[in-house]
Symmetry: D3
Subunit: 317 residues, 6 copies
């Protein structure tokens, strides 16, 4: 394995992310902050900050927003050399409004976007085979048939090579109907080694009472580790047959978006490092807490130095 | 009744509102945010957002700040076709400093302003007669004699036409002496069908122990519905002889100014729609809470969609 | 004719307009200014500022950007009561980059937008019949078949009622092929009383040497007045058989977008007022010059007071 | 003479100065930059930057804007220990709009302001007697009778003590009628040793053809040195019987306000230093040019180091 | 004693202070707010706002940041006429990052700075002898040998003249080793009349259990009054043999830096006024609370008017 | 040669770059824009934008500014995998003030910075040997002895491997005395294949009349290609015995810093591509012109698409 081979590979859509600097109705904003975001690349950045060599596969348009996606990810140390620039479609865009604290609305301009045109040919099975973990989400299969096929191909390549498969359900109701989603998410769950879901998402696929029950039922489908994320109430982990309670880390929420990606990033980063489950969970809870204390989906994610610094401080505002 | 006849008519002064983006001494600000505000037009905007056709009567100068007042109100769907542009005086101005959380100081530049030159000739009795509610405040009579006469005329026109009269005491100690205010506010109370006041304001006119007692005493002067606003402690309503407690809606306050106007706007909007008192109070409390979570006096006021969205969320920061 | 009947009616798409505050590559911007823009509504605003009662017909999404479009136009005094809110599609969006002075790039997110779903049912022939001028552009027919049919219907309604038809070719190469455009633009030209075009646009439809020749050739198709806009070199007008040279007004260009709309707005505003052609042209040239001296497509457009003020000053930076 | 005695004393009104960061209609600004300005204090700052000990006499309100005026002037090294805080009136305010390049509109909120309540008791004749120059303008006598009397008293104190009197006509048409102004300006001219005026201002008091003629006519009233400021065309000086042409210094104007104050500041600074007239004029022209290259009335004024630096550079944008 | 003699003299380094407007990693900021800060000048400003005539001794470079330090302090009414401009070194600079709420990181660019070159010749013993209090901190002796000698000289001058000596330990681990610090801080403690320290700082010099014990042990070294600052837990005072508990004032912390300086400023201001210890402590606690509610190290410090205003309000956000 | 081998390698110091958003004295800025800059990395970015694989060698501190340098360069596609993070020193910093148009002042905080601690061990001779061009400047040898030795080593490695050596004199008077500079620059010139200098810089090393004479004299020392940069007057090239005049590209200068780096970047990019000298010069002149039209040292540099776009436009403001 050469120096540059990624340890974590992920694939998905990354978009420009526009949001007002202040809470309130978006139409009263005079300017919108320009950043980028995407569940998979958020996770890749989070993992990279914790020392993992991460690569992101996706498509951007041949436009300024596409160049912004590329330069932001590259600047964060994520390998974008496998990303594709698609001259035939624009980079996707999303508007994120914080209507009031805890009440966020996102509007997408991603229909026909470059990112939704991801296709199997964009996936390099050898790249995946050389990694330690592949991470995919339930967003990408909802974008287009070709994107769904690309995700399937990536998962198959990982399994064929014995690379761990991590899945975050990330169900987006506006992108596809619940029954179509349920079918594809079940398929992803069956192929996963590590699975992240909220309780509502878990119930699309299995039926059981409580977070522990859902975790067990999902694990019965295949994944050895299931993480049920419960927002302000912490998380429940079911790993190799054992249940772990992850208490919430108390913070004042500035922007709740990105907490799940941060949780997953830190969990996988510790997994790649070979840390035991309790340590993975501890780091994951802290990363999730930090993510929500700054605007932006991933900007607040911690480095290892930050973890040391902050563990001793008080991250409440 | 044609499509454009207003359901709610209000009259008063709307000024340019300048405030620093951050809390702290105003003199350390390098720039001041430019908005508009006025108790009556705040209420009109709030009612308009909840589906009420509202019209605002007032004067602005023939200057940029006057054009800002007009375009802002018109942009919010408030009918400004009855407003007057007065070439002989400038549009009023106020500076609002958030010295520290919960401690706000307002400085007015409204002496001799166009808005204070409101006069009876500006009031169209037919417009008022065609509406469902007339709303006035105790600020306008304090601005000038002609403004006081204009308010009196408006109230008379409403009563003559059987249009409900809503009054918010809104006592401003810097504008007139307490005894002069008490006399005029009592006169307004006697003409009101719906009356809004704080406990301190109520005591200018009546004497009774507690919020309930004050509400009852005020109601005895005439108004069938009296709403005693108690800031962070909620409100007490006395309506058709029944007392209603309105618990506070817990929020982190960004800017307390405007909460009362929001409360009144939502109360009157539900009244115009014919909703019963408890529903009026529920909407009023939620609107008041939302108003204080964003900078600006009225920008955070809810639409009907916002009410649905936020009722299910957590508006604390 | 009642007080509120519009003198000028226009129909088209108005979008949110996002642009960096500084020139340079858009991806280096940290925030984008949020405004609205659209050729037809820019013209309506410009006309309204010069005293014309103007109405805009178009579709916006049931979203914050749609509400921004509505409140901005209403705030500028443009009648939006005939605009449609389409719950099934988002409001369109455009990014405008000033790569360097004089070199502007616009990216559209308008495929499938609410605005592109304009349809004949949105057009009220009676509204048009009550006006003095109908203004349409070559952009709208390129958006969709239904939008094209809506424009055709509007033009027919105007002609049937003897209302003057104003057309700005506004050819957008990215929206449709040149031959399809040429056919539809010719059709519009044949129905027009007043026609605005650049030399390049004119050549899509007619063939003649020089601006004067093109103006004459276009006029031969029907319009009594043809205005050939030549950017920094001024304009040539062919009106009722006479050629008028309009020298450029010297300014330092901040943002060239919107100059054509400003020119047209002022021309039509003077036409509605019944001013002779030379006065129309003088006002049009001054308005076009002012439009480019501020960021934003229409914010710099003059009121009548501004015209007096600025005519005596020096609008060069 | 002790270390702290001022060399230059001036008296007048200094106000908060609010202006949009960008040119264009003020109502489109979302925020206004907060600075301070006043013809006399602009001049005092300019002189202080060139090494002159300067003191400013005036009134501010007991409010944040008053504290801003004081801290800004003190921060620039101007002695404000003789300024008065008036608890009975607010600090004045002005809005400055750059409608287009070269076209500036100022709106004042100074009626009844603290600054306009300057009165003879605020003037310390001993302070003036200890200085080298007293500088007053034609603005202050127009503010109120008491302010006019204060200026007269200051001028008398200077003349009685043999302190040079410098006057800038600074005629403000909105503050008083031309005939009243003419009378008072003539009175000031007769008492002046150094007089600054534009050609239009000069014509209020004397009648002569051309700048040189006007300078000569004004000098005949008393002042040994008369400076006729001609904006973009430079200046003409008439000093001890000799005419000096001061060519304009070519610059790109960002904000023309303040150029005259800068010119005067530098002229008087060199006078205090005992430099000959041609050197005074050279420095004055450079300072005037620098003043207009930055926003703000005085922020761009040069120190002695700046003069060295900039004399070798190119101050055109 | 003349009007201008300072009541409080302090000496130390004041630097430019750059910090991002939002919490989060500093590298994601597009711009940094520019202010000034320094423990000693923060205290001087705080004292001046409460009516104390304060003077600051220190060195700045002959550069824009040095001029900013001077104008800011002078603007706040602090006498900077004894400060030195050192042409041979730049003004120091610090970057302050709020990584998350309660977790602040400061990076200094002060090695070789002008401020660190303070030397005994900069200290005017007569100035100190004319004051009521001299205030020094443990930061200055850590900057350089000459700075240490300057502090020693100042302390000696105060003691010789019977001027009260106030010391804040302000231990900065990055500036010097603990043992060197302990030695010098003990020396300062022995010379102090009033001593401020945190518990950790106290333990560098004495050994005792609890805050009270530490206060007593420090007092045994000499100072009649010892104040142990305990951040969010309030303070403990040991004054003339009596222990006073100072409960914390509940606030939402925006920026914790500067609370200690504010506490000291108010304590000394009341001491200068001759107020008894309990009143000193009450004002000190309120000032400390206000300091942390705004960005900037000292901008939120109260005037006497603010104290009245805020004592009746709620300074929690 | 594998896919990732750089074509251009450069070594030097890159610093954080802080500058006010507006021209004028820096002390009046409330915030400073945060970017990065360095002559060598500016050139590497410029080359990368034109399609050249570029690598930058240098040191940054283990701090936020160091992470900003790394992420910015990586985001621009420059290989930073050979850069060193030095835990013992902070990342350098510079303040850039635009005092007036064309008059820029830069203040450095780089004494003892990480970047100045570059040393021979940081240079990988194999990396250099694999490239097509090595680029160094006269800034780096002035930073420290170890930095000078690192540059010498890099140059030797290039020459030994037959890799072209490009040198930009970039004389910084504040970093070293003219005679020391002259000696080292001559040494660099003798080793160069391509040499960039201003006329003043050339005269440090050779003596000849005029730009052509200087170019010839420098070429006689070794370099086959000498480029004399003359700011607003264009450039003169002496290549393989032929003189080429490069006329200036007319632009309105926003920020002159970075023009030379842009010129060099484009020249070398075309050289790497094998384009003839006249084409290199054409691209270099256009890139230099674009660099000065935006704030920031390198943000305005063109991609190949930009060159096409802009060649047809007008880059004057």
């Amino acid at each position: 394995m050469t120096r540059d081979t990624p340890e974590l590979v992920t694939a998905g859509e990354t978009m420009a992310l526009l949001s007002p600097p202040e809470p309130g109705p978006l139409r009263h904003a005079r300017s919108l902050d320009l950043r980028v975001g995407g569940a998979e690349s958020n996770l890749a950045i989070g993992a990279a900050r914790l020392g993992v060599r991460a690569a992101w596969i996706g498509r951007v348009g041949d436009d300024e927003l596409g160049r912004l996606v590329r330069s932001t990810l590259a600047g964060e140390g994520v390998d974008v050399s496998h990303a594709v620039t698609d001259p035939a479609a624009p980079t996707g865009l999303m508007l994120k409004e914080r209507r009031a604290a805890g009440v966020t609305r996102v509007t997408y301009y991603r229909a026909g976007s470059a990112g939704s045109r991801l296709e199997p040919a964009d996936i390099d099975p050898e790249l995946i085979a050389s990694a330690r973990v592949l991470h995919v989400t339930g967003i990408t299969p909802a974008l287009s048939e070709s994107a769904r096929d690309a995700v399937r191909l990536a998962v198959e390549a990982a399994r064929a090579a014995g690379v761990a498969v991590s899945v975050d359900f990330n169900y987006r109701a506006r992108l596809w109907p619940a029954d179509a989603a349920a079918k594809e998410l079940r398929r992803l769950a069956e192929a996963a080694d590590v699975l992240f879901a909220t309780e509502d998402e878990a119930r699309l696929v299995v039926d059981a009472p409580g977070a522990e029950g859902l975790a067990g039922a999902l694990s019965a489908l295949g994944p050895a580790e299931v993480l049920i994320k419960r927002g302000g109430r912490g998380a429940v982990a079911y790993a190799q047959g054992t249940v772990h309670e992850v208490p919430p880390y108390p913070v004042d929420v500035v922007d709740p978006v990105g907490a799940g990606d941060a949780f997953g990033a830190a969990y996988l980063a510790e997994l790649v490092r070979g840390r035991p489950v309790p340590e993975r969970l501890r780091t994951a809870a802290l990363a999730g807490a930090l993510a929500v204390t700054v605007p932006g989906d991933w900007e607040g994610l911690p480095t290892r130095d930050d973890l040391d610094l902050i563990a001793g401080g008080d991250v409440r505002r």
